[in-house]
C-alpha cells in the first residue's frame, strides 16, 4: 500500500500518472478524491515521500500527467474539475510546489488534459488538452520553463458537444522515437483521431 491518507478513510489514488526519475525512483501524481487535492508520491517500493501539491480547487488532481523536466524539476499538468482549468504545477529546487493556471475558464469552460499531456518538445513545454464545449484540440506552450503559456488550436474536432456526455471525450499524448509529438483523441460519438507534429505542421488521421 502506497497511500491511504493516514488512515483517514479518504479515497485516494484516482487519476494516477507515473514517471521514472533520473535517480531510478518513481514519481506518481494522483488525486485525493475526498479532499479534491493533487498529491505526488516520490520514491520506490516501501519508501515513499508524499506531498500535497495543491488545494487550489475543490476537485484538483484529475487527468494528471507527470514528468521530470530537462532542468530536473518534477512537473504535473492536471485538470481542476471545479474551475474547469488546465493547470501546471512544478516542484521547485527549494522543494516547494508552484502552481498556476495554464488555460482557464475565461477562455473555455472545459480545458481538459489527459495522460501524457505534459511533454517537452523543441525546448518548450507543451500541454495538450481538449476544449470540450468549443470542440477543439489545443496545445498550450511555454518557452520560459512554465512561467507563461500561450495557446493555439490544432484542429476542430468532429464530436458534437453534449453537456450530458461531456465527460466522455479523452486525450492522450506522447513523443515517438523520432521526436514527433503525437496526440490521440477519443471523441466518444465520432472517430478516434491521431495528430502528429513533426516540427512544422500538424497532420491528422482517423484511427
Amino acid at each position: 500500500m502506497l497511500d491511504n491518507d493516514g488512515g483517514s478513510g479518504d479515497v485516494v489514488g484516482h487519476h494516477a500518472a507515473i514517471t521514472r526519475l533520473d535517480t531510478g525512483d518513481f514519481a506518481i501524481a494522483y488525486e485525493n478524491t475526498t479532499d479534491g487535492t493533487l498529491k505526488v508520491a516520490r520514491g520506490s517500493a516501501g519508501a515513499w515521500t508524499i506531498e500535497t501539491v495543491t488545494t487550489s480547487g475543490s476537485a484538483a488532481g484529475t487527468y494528471n500527467s507527470i514528468m521530470q523536466l530537462a532542468d530536473d524539476r518534477i512537473a504535473v499538468s492536471y485538470y481542476d474539475n471545479i474551475a474547469s482549468d488546465t493547470r501546471f504545477a512544478v516542484r521547485e529546487p527549494n522543494d516547494v510546489w508552484s502552481d498556476l493556471v495554464v488555460e482557464g475558464h475565461s477562455f473555455t469552460t472545459h480545458a481538459r488534459p489527459g495522460p501524457g499531456s505534459l511533454q517537452e518538445y523543441g525546448g518548450d513545454l507543451v500541454i495538450s488538452f481538449i476544449d470540450i464545449p468549443n470542440e477543439n484540440v489545443r496545445t498550450s506552450t511555454s518557452a520560459d520553463a512554465g512561467l507563461t503559456w500561450s495557446t493555439s488550436d490544432i484542429s476542430a474536432l468532429d464530436f458534437v458537444f453534449d453537456a450530458g456526455t461531456n465527460g466522455t471525450q479523452s486525450i492522450a499524448t506522447s513523443v515517438d522515437d523520432d521526436g514527433d509529438l503525437w496526440i490521440a483523441i477519443d471523441q466518444f460519438d465520432a472517430a478516434t483521431l491521431a495528430f502528429e507534429y513533426a516540427g512544422t505542421a500538424w497532420s491528422e488521421d482517423e484511427v
Binding site: M1, L2, D3, N4, D5, G9, D10, V11, V12, G13, H14, H15, A16, A17, I18, T19, R20, G24, F26, I28, Y30, T34, A41, P115
Partner: protein, 52 residues
C-alpha cells in the same frame, strides 16, 4: 481486478496482476518502466480508497 495485456490490442493474452475476488483493484492505474525495462504499476484499491 487489475490485469495486463501482453499484446497491444484487446485480443492479446491477459494476465492477472492482482485480484482477490473481494477488493476493487485497478479502476485507475498507471504503468511505468524501470531502468531495466520492467513494468511498474500504480493502481487503486477502491474498496479501501487507497493507492497501491
Amino acid at each position: 481486478m487489475l490485469v495486463r495485456a501482453s499484446e497491444a490490442n484487446v485480443r492479446g493474452t491477459f494476465t492477472t496482476i492482482v485480484g482477490d475476488g473481494a477488493n476493487d483493484y485497478g479502476n485507475y492505474s498507471a504503468v511505468g518502466l524501470t531502468s531495466d525495462g520492467g513494468p511498474v504499476v500504480a493502481y487503486t484499491d477502491d474498496t479501501n480508497g487507497t493507492l497501491r
